[in-house]
Symmetry: C2
Subunit: 341 residues, 2 copies
């Protein structure tokens, strides 16, 4: 049974809300080590171990400086817990930057990976789509996009059970020549890459339409796309609720539709996807939504647990080792290692 190191800080509802989520996951047999203020985490319950931590890194802190200088911060302790082998995966709903930085420092990169990427399952009706990078790297080179494709494809295959996931490269047209020079280069490299089901360029509309299982892009575009999709689903959902309040007949209709719409609302709820996962490390790190309800926290812990049990990290490493697409990356890394030694 995997053990998840859970940062108790950073949730809008405080450490008690995070603990409530941990209890839901622990009730299913997942072991949790929770890092936070002992007072708020008294009587955690079966399967939950409290590791006291009173310092925490907020969204206002500069991540790299904070992670470097504050080893007692909850997310730093939790990341080190994974690196030390006491836990198998890190989960935090706190600062994305601090979680990514602490994970990068504590867990090393997979061999051949130049840039780990933040991957998120899009909250869509009826279909799972993985988008990466959602914000780890605001600028990337074509080679990085190719690595993202291997990481995302292997993740969807091993953790979500999608056979031969269809991978798309986000661009402004289906034609391979459309897009920035870097995107055009990446599209050609992906066409040549063995061991991946590359379906060509994906347009913005292809994401919600579920045309691809994995969509690859830089962290600037991906972060905007993820937040835009979540925001649009929320705005349209809100407008549907407003419509159901626009008069007595509509209100009665809304009441009769409520059970069916409730299912849709859950599908569109970012809390349901478990948050984003950092791919490309020799370990598992999940960043949940700061607004996470206890259900959201539990889903983030479940995602981490499942990623460990399905050996996704090992499989990503194998996929990268066997792919010709990362030979260049490996060579560059070897060059750096040689220079560093």
């Amino acid at each position: 049974v995997p053990t998840v190191a859970l940062d108790a800080f950073g949730a809008d509802r405080g450490p008690a809300g995070v603990l409530a989520g941990a209890r839901k996951a622990a009730a299913e047999g997942i072991r949790v080590r929770i890092f936070g203020p002992a007072d708020d985490l008294a009587d955690p319950g079966d399967g939950i171990e409290v590791v006291p931590a009173d310092d925490w890194i907020t969204n206002e802190d500069e991540p790299v400086a904070a992670v470097r200088s504050r080893p007692q911060a909850s997310v730093v302790q939790a990341a080190n817990d994974v690196a030390d082998g006491a836990s198998d995966a890190l989960v935090s709903v706190g600062s994305t930057g601090a979680t990514m930085t602490a994970s990068l420092f504590a867990m090393r990169r997979l061999r051949g990976v130049q840039r780990p990427a933040l991957a998120a399952l899009l909250p869509l009706p009826a279909k799972s789509v993985l988008l990466l990078d959602c914000g780890a790297n605001v600028e990337v080179r074509p080679q990085h996009l190719v690595q993202f494709a291997f990481l995302g494809s292997t993740f969807m295959e091993s953790v979500l059970g999608v056979a031969s996931p269809r991978v798309g490269l986000l661009s402004v047209g289906e034609e391979q020549k459309k897009g920035t020079p870097d995107v055009v280069a990446a599209s050609e490299m992906l066409d040549d890459a063995a061991g991946i089901n590359f379906g060509g360029n994906a347009e913005g509309r292809d994401l919600p339409a579920g045309e691809f299982d994995v969509v690859v892009t830089d962290g600037f575009t991906g972060n905007i796309a993820l937040k835009l999709l979540e925001g649009t689903a929320k705005a349209v959902g809100g407008a549907v609720r407003d419509a159901a309040k626009s008069g007595p007949v509509a209100a009665a209709g809304g009441l009769m539709l409520r059970p069916a719409l409730g299912k849709l609302r859950r599908q569109l709820d970012p809390d349901q996807t478990g948050g984003a996962i950092l791919l490309g490390l020799r370990g598992v790190a999940v960043v949940g939504h700061g607004s996470s309800s206890p259900d959201g926290v539990a889903n983030a812990v479940r995602l981490a647990d499942r990623t460990v049990r399905e050996r996704a990290v090992e499989r990503m490493g194998e996929a990268l080792e066997h792919s010709g697409a990362t030979r260049q990356a490996l060579r560059e890394q070897d060059d750096r290692d040689t220079q560093a030694s």
Copy 2:
């Protein structure tokens, strides 16, 4: 009364569908010159003049080569009609690339404008948000983003009547230091720019939330954002309709909600916004959706007509002349003009 040069080709429903849209606009007193096959455009009706054109440029053609070599193509004739003064604005629902290229060649750029941008009103409930660039320039420099801000702000003020439009720069966080180096530089320049209501960086979720009246970005990100927003609204709308078919009670509820949801559906319909408009030229060019219904064509013609009547082009020129933000651009253009002469 303005005259609109309307390309009859490129619509999914053929020239007859475009003519049907022209008739709706003409019924409101807008004069239309429609460029297309005479056989399909017989008996156009009051206020509509047919200019025969049998050649047309499709999405499959390379825009620059096609526009250069085929002066008889409908969109090229229509753009030249505006340049010659016979019409006041161009509207096409055909190839976006061909329409942009024909407009760029026929109408010159406004003084100081380095890169015209494609601007689109987002199909959102209850609020008009202008996004630019939606695809004219896949790569831009910070100075271009500043110009887009002036163009978009002046357009929203003159054509949509929004007083002191709040302008946002699309990025991955509210903090000015977030984003690519070019975006960070543009954000600082916009902060210093006089004559514009810059509200800081906009995140992806701020677009559907209506936090800004104008959102500025590069054409790669903007194209993806526009299509993603339209696609997500469509997917969620479709899921609501599916929910209303999931059983007899839900179906009855859906029927009672239909009038209220119909209004929302129209708000989310990209046809309602009239399409995208090319800003930064000494003329008006509107690109409608290829899937446009006659209503969509009529809305594109109305948008063009309104842009002419509100003197938006002259006002954009004045805003740019008076802004310190484009002095650098003007200098660069003067340098080029000097070198070219």
